[in-house]
């Protein structure tokens, strides 16, 4: 019995740490897709850019982990504003196919660019000493870094929720998601709102990329390799919501971990089977407006 409980605790803990990274990276995608109706497959590019900024600062300039993460957020958010203004804004009215083709092209360019600048190998991720090793919670040991990731991610999520649910900016965003025209006629500058939201989403992705670099290694093909997972989180969670992708990420992260631990032979299937089941049941995702 004790062994069963210990195993269950491990599964939940390890699954949560994986889920948090998935959520932090994907939430921006959910909001931009829901808010702007823009199919931005290149979202992973912002995550990997955040990873590159974080690791380059740490490895080559000796910047501490947290400062590097904050810089990555700022740099990527700023860069995404430029991209949004000059590239994305031109395709807001375009068809989904055009948006998909455009963002896929952007991925390929980013992959080739990253390979040119940083080479094909993954970047070295050397955690600060205090995040390495294990911490004991009495009955079982847990990897320190993963515990840290859960704490930081939960704090970020709380902050995000507060921002969207309790501030005027958040109210404007929610209004624009619900009914863009009505929001505009109430005098909300939706163009500026989009730019800000896009920057926030991209910055969060950058944070996710940097925070998760120990687990999802930073290398040129990152945006393609993990695209499927980010899309699954958003699709299962439902577009435009904060809660949906969170529930989806936890469900998929913990479920994936549980299956790989309990029945490793079928470990790879769970995430896809769960996605198909949820989408059959609710085609718009768990919290989507269908």
């Amino acid at each position: 019995m004790e062994a069963v409980i210990a195993a269950a605790v491990s599964i939940v803990f390890l699954g949560l740490s994986y889920a948090m990274i998935l959520y932090i990276v994907s939430v921006g995608l959910s909001v931009t897709m829901g808010l702007m109706g823009f199919t931005n497959l290149a979202h992973g590019v912002f995550a990997v850019a955040g990873g590159y900024v974080t690791l380059t600062l740490m490895n080559s300039h000796g910047v501490p982990f947290f400062a590097a993460l904050a810089t990555a957020f700022a740099v990527v958010a700023a860069a995404s504003v430029i991209l949004e203004r000059f590239l994305y804004a031109r395709l807001y009215g375009a068809s989904e196919l055009e948006q998909v083709l455009f963002t896929i092209g952007l991925i390929f360019m980013a992959v080739a660019g990253a390979q040119y600048v940083w080479g094909p190998f993954p970047q070295r991720m050397q955690l600060p000493d205090y995040l390495r090793g294990q911490i004991s919670l009495g009955f079982r040991d847990f990897p320190t870094y993963r515990a840290f990731m859960i704490v930081v991610s939960l704090a970020l999520i709380a902050l995000l929720w507060f921002g969207v649910e309790r501030t005027s900016f958040g109210a404007q965003v929610r209004a624009a998601v619900d009914n863009r025209r009505m929001a505009q006629s109430l005098g909300i500058n939706t163009g500026r709102l989009f730019t800000l939201t896009f920057a926030l989403g991209s910055g969060l992705a950058a944070l996710g990329g940097g925070l998760g670099a120990e687990i999802l290694a930073i290398h040129p093909a990152y945006p393609i390799e993990h695209l499927v997972y980010f899309l699954i989180v958003v699709a299962v969670g439902g577009l435009g919501s904060l809660r949906g992708p969170f529930i989806a990420a936890v469900l998929l992260g913990v479920g994936d971990t549980a299956f790989k631990y309990l029945v490793p032979e079928f470990g790879a299937f769970f995430i896809y089977a769960a996605m198909i089941a949820v989408l059959l049941w609710r085609p718009a995702g768990l919290f989507g407006r269908g």
Binding site: Y18, P120, P122, Q134, A217, E225, T257, K260, G267, A268
Partner: protein, 396 residues
């Protein structure tokens, strides 16, 4: 109207005949992953090919040129590999097919090589059965059995009674698992569990937790060389398996020289069996590594894949010299049967005339810190290992 057309054709023919007499170009179709997640592997082999050509072009017969036609397989994509090799053979009219990182691609290429009667020089893909798929295949890399089978025997003799195996769920992974299990259990060891992990796997922690709970003496691992090995190594350390005295062992793919810097201190003391370490002190290897670093910078290190490509090029140049630049498929394969390279960076190697597979030394290595950097230090040599799978199963 007709006259000038004929004239043109005639003129074209004469010029092409004239140039043919002066310059014989041997075309080599090189299939590698040059983009996508496996691009770093293709890059290691591509660099070795370029370096070899730069250093040895003067050894070609007079008037003979080598032209490399590179094609990007983008990863383990047999359908892409098949299309590319068909184009190389029919449109580019290559004389030799070479390269290939992934076994599934090699298996897709094999029938095309047979049909076109083109020598197929495998520079990496290491599943045992591969060489039996076409009489035109000659392999200069390794087989998983070559490393994992003796690894099993070594483990059983070195205080490892209970072992757990975790391998990537594809051809080479199955080979590594079978080879280690046979070597280990034949020598009296006991396998307490085995997991086949999905090939595209972002997080290894659940598997490592399972291994930890089984409390074996050692964990035998095979995942494709590269960042998967780093991710696995981190999960192994994160979950505290070293503190539980679960030793990590495997073929050298899990501690490749170029990945070691990304792994932190985790791999210190990891024992692997492999045919190549960039840290080896043989003069031929030192010369090779020096030339590499001179061209590609001090931070670039050749891997076993580079050496596979390097030796493959040595063999191709040998075949070109022997045939004075006119490559015949059957003659080339005949020339390479029993072919020996005494001064390969990995030590002496030979092509088994029966199986067309490589015969080479296997080295038992331990990861140690040398001058601030981690390196695979060779401890013991098992000389001239033939592919044990073919020996056991009598395959040719």
């Amino acid at each position: 109207m007709k006259a000038w057309k004929l004239g043109l054709i005639a003129a074209g023919l004469t010029t092409s005949l004239v140039t043919a007499a002066h310059a014989q170009t041997v075309k080599i179709g090189l299939l590698l992953p040059l983009s996508g997640p496996a691009a770093s592997l293709g890059d290691q082999m591509d660099k070795a090919v370029q370096l070899y050509m730069k250093m040895h072009d003067k050894e070609l017969p007079p008037g003979v040129k080598v032209e490399i036609i590179k094609r990007d397989t983008t990863g383990p994509n047999p359908d892409v590999a098949k299309r590319l090799v068909t184009e190389l053979v029919t449109r580019d009219r290559v004389d030799i097919i070479a390269g290939v990182v992934f076994t599934p691609n090699a298996h897709a290429i094999a029938p095309v090589a047979t049909e076109a009667k083109k020598p197929f020089i495998i520079m990496n893909a290491g599943t045992s059965v591969t060489t039996t798929l076409s009489p035109y295949i000659v392999r200069f890399s390794f087989t998983l059995w070559q490393a994992s089978y003796p690894m099993g025997g070594w483990a059983a003799k070195n205080n490892i009674k209970r072992a757990y195996t975790t391998v990537a769920d594809y051809g080479p992974g199955h080979d590594a698992e079978a080879a280690f299990t046979k070597g280990f259990t034949d020598a009296g060891g006991q396998i307490v569990g085995s997991i086949r992990m999905p090939l595209q796997n972002p997080d290894f922690v659940p598997f490592m937790q399972r291994v930890k709970d089984a409390k074996p003496d050692a964990l035998f691992v095979f995942v494709p060389a590269g960042r998967q090995a780093t991710a696995l190594m981190k999960a192994y350390s994160d979950l505290g398996l070293p503190q539980e005295r679960i030793r990590l062992i495997g073929p050298g793919d899990i501690t490749t020289d170029e990945e070691l810097p990304n792994m932190g201190d985790v791999p210190l003391g990891v024992i692997t069996m492999h045919h190549y370490s960039a840290a080896a002190t043989r003069p031929a290897n030192k010369a090779f590594v020096d030339a590499w670093k001179k061209d590609y910078g001090p931070n670039s290190t050749p891997s076993f894949m580079s050496v596979g490509a390097w030796d493959g090029m040595t063999a191709i140049y040998h075949a070109i010299r022997e045939q004075k630049g006119k490559i015949d498929g059957d003659k080339t394969v005949a020339l390479l049967k029993g072919y020996k390279i005494d001064n390969s960076p990995r030590g002496p190697i030979m092509i088994d005339p029966e199986t067309r597979d490589v015969v080479q030394n296997e080295y038992l290595r331990r990861v140690e810190r040398v001058g601030g950097n981690l390196a695979n230090i060779e401890l013991e040599t098992i000389p001239m290992v033939k592919d044990p799978w073919k020996e056991i199963n009598q395959k040719k």
